[in-house]
């Protein structure tokens, strides 16, 4: 009788979290993703020390060199060192991911909680989100960027807004299912206010899927922002941003494919790392989904 077997849903957070960590740590690919991300954060932080050249330094005599001893990844059409630009671009892409997902998560989770909790506001919020979800995120982002004007900061906002509907829908459905649980009813019977119920019961229990989706959304946001920059709607030259760098190499693809390729591979590595970590987190936090 002492160790009650019926505590499944109201399990104390401690041991469950430790379990999740252990599962995550055992999954080699997600550890690799996390290690890769840690490395990238380090590169971003130490960019001035790591980059061999000034990312904006123009040297027309050294233009369009292939990878070599002086310029490990070659130079672009202005003779700028591609490796240095990629190193500095890490800062741009990681901040794009954090800010865009921050907007999407902050606004989306708030709206989702409201929709899940208020019967009156549920319909209007859901209706607007369904409209937003009905057309491609990238088209939505393009329209918002057009309204705000091109630029890397506006691109972050646009991608962030584009991510809101997904977060809203997820938070709303978690809220709707959690608020029916016995422990919420118990809390309410004890006289807990809605704010307390949200803070103490709904949010902690809705956190796991939000963490997973946020990680995967980082990958999507970085990719989307790079696409906006590639289309000329995000970062403006001469900023060292990977999508814009790839766009600058577009006309040179026939003879100098390295100009577009290295920045694209940088995008690939970051996006892959977030995808690996996100997949691993999903398996760790939601063991039922695993094999």
């Amino acid at each position: 009788m002492s160790a009650s077997p019926e505590r499944s849903e109201a399990a104390p957070p401690g041991p469950a979290r430790a379990d999740a960590w252990r599962r995550l740590w055992r999954d080699r690919t997600s550890v690799a993703g996390a290690a890769c991300l840690a490395l990238l954060v380090l590169i971003a932080a130490l960019a001035p020390a790591l980059a061999p050249y000034d990312p904006l330094r123009v040297a027309m005599r050294e233009r369009l060199q292939g990878p070599g001893a002086l310029h490990w990844l070659g130079t672009d059409q202005f003779g700028r060192d591609i490796l240095s630009r990629i190193v500095y671009g890490t800062r741009v892409s990681l901040s794009v991911g954090v800010i865009a997902v921050g907007i999407g998560l902050g606004v989306g989770a708030t709206l989702g909680l409201i929709a899940g909790f208020s019967r009156r506001l549920d319909y209007p919020i859901t209706a607007v989100m369904d409209v937003l979800l009905s057309f491609p995120q990238i088209l939505l982002a393009i329209a918002i960027v057009a309204a705000l004007g091109p630029g890397i900061f506006n691109a972050m906002i646009a991608v962030g807004i584009g991510a809101v509907p997904g977060f809203t829908r997820l938070t709303r459905s978690s809220t709707l299912s959690i608020r029916e649980r016995d422990y919420v009813e118990a809390a309410r019977a004890l006289g807990a206010t809605s704010a307390r119920i949200i803070a103490r019961h709904i949010l902690p229990n809705a956190a796991a899927p939000l963490i997973v989706v946020s990680t995967l959304a980082m990958a999507g946001a970085i990719l989307a922002a790079a696409i906006l920059s590639f289309l000329g709607l995000g970062a403006r030259p001469p900023m060292a941003e990977w999508g814009a760098m790839a766009a600058e190499g577009r006309g040179l693809i026939a003879q100098y494919p390295h100009v577009s390729t290295f920045p694209s591979l940088a995008i690939f590595v970051v996006v892959l790392a977030f995808n690996l970590l996100g997949d691993g987190l999903r398996d760790a936090l939601d063991p039922q989904l695993g094999e």
């Binding site: 990238i138 790839a246 693809i253 892959l272």
Partner: protein, 301 residues
């Protein structure tokens, strides 16, 4: 229908928040103020936003989307032509991604934990993280520049002409290519789940050949979520079409929309997005109908 209405209203409102006045763009930066005001009155831009929206809607239901502010051509003509080009590209991409993605997923599921399974799933995971513009650029570099098999960009003409087909190849390959990984992964997991069901065990127990078990029982039941995602992926395809059309100078809806947004050509932007929204609604309807065909338990009244 509410989706289409809502989308059109949203786009209308967003575009009217845009700083930048089309009348000034048409008249040119040096035009005197009364000329600009004249143009604004002519275009109806001096009316309240809701009046403009109401008038736009009443014309739109009659197929009149207004005229492009820049080219003065009928928006419906421009959008329709671009829509057909995009449709051609998207359908070609869809077909080839299905032809590649689903078989890979099926084989990976049936030969679970084999080299093929591991290799294709790792490739799929890598493919999911590749930026689409680089795939397009690499396709140009390899197939157009190095091998010289296909032209670099543009649309060659109608689909049935050789030039038309040749021009379609690379953009369709690129756009379809980004859909293959997700499709293969989903098909694999869906089949794996179906293979664990009781009816598959029954089919095996009655001595049915494994090939038939997969084809007749597992595949058919596994297709339901796949069809959903095929429908959902059309959104991704139309989004990806924006980039693909830009790289390959394909005269489609995405390119039209980007150019129109950059030149503040409001009627064209509205037209492209309205048509896009209508397309989604139609596709969703078709997907729902497909459900009923695939799963007789689903009935519509």
């Amino acid at each position: 229908m509410p989706t289409v209405l809502g989308t059109s209203l949203l786009v209308f409102l967003i575009l009217h928040l845009v700083p930048g006045d089309p009348a000034t763009i048409i008249a040119g930066p040096t035009a005197p103020a009364d000329v600009v005001a004249n143009i604004r009155a002519q275009l109806g831009l001096d009316q309240p936003v809701m009046v403009q929206y109401g008038r736009y809607l009443s014309h739109a239901v009659r197929g009149d989307l207004g005229r492009s502010i820049l080219t003065r051509r009928q928006v419906s003509d421009e959008v329709w032509g671009a829509f057909l080009n995009t449709l051609e590209l998207v359908i070609a991409a869809r077909i080839w991604s299905l032809l590649v993605g689903i078989p890979i997923g099926v084989v990976a599921a049936v030969k679970r934990r084999s080299i093929f399974d591991k290799l294709s799933m790792v490739t799929a995971l890598l493919g999911l993280s590749l930026p689409i513009f680089w795939i397009g650029l690499m396709a140009i570099w390899l197939f157009a520049v190095k091998l010289g098999w296909f032209p670099i960009s543009g649309r060659g003409g109608p689909l049935w002409s050789t030039a038309g087909l040749q021009h379609l190849m690379l953009p369709a390959l690129t756009l379809g290519g980004i859909q293959v990984p997700a499709l293969a992964r989903l098909t694999r997991s869906s089949i794996l789940e179906a293979l664990q069901q009781d009816y598959v065990r029954t089919a095996r127990a009655k001595g049915l050949a494994e090939r038939l078990v997969v084809a007749k029982h597992a595949l058919k039941n596994a297709m339901l979520p796949v069809v959903t995602v095929i429908g959902l992926q059309f959104a991704g395809l139309l989004g990806g079409a924006v980039v693909t059309e830009t790289i390959f100078s394909w005269p489609g809806l995405g390119r039209l929309a980007v150019t129109a947004i950059l030149t503040r050509d409001f009627p064209v932007v509205q037209g492209t997005i309205l048509v896009t929204a209508l397309t989604f609604v139609t596709i969703n309807l078709l997907v729902d109908c497909l459900y009923a065909v695939l799963d007789p338990r689903i009935k519509y009244t």
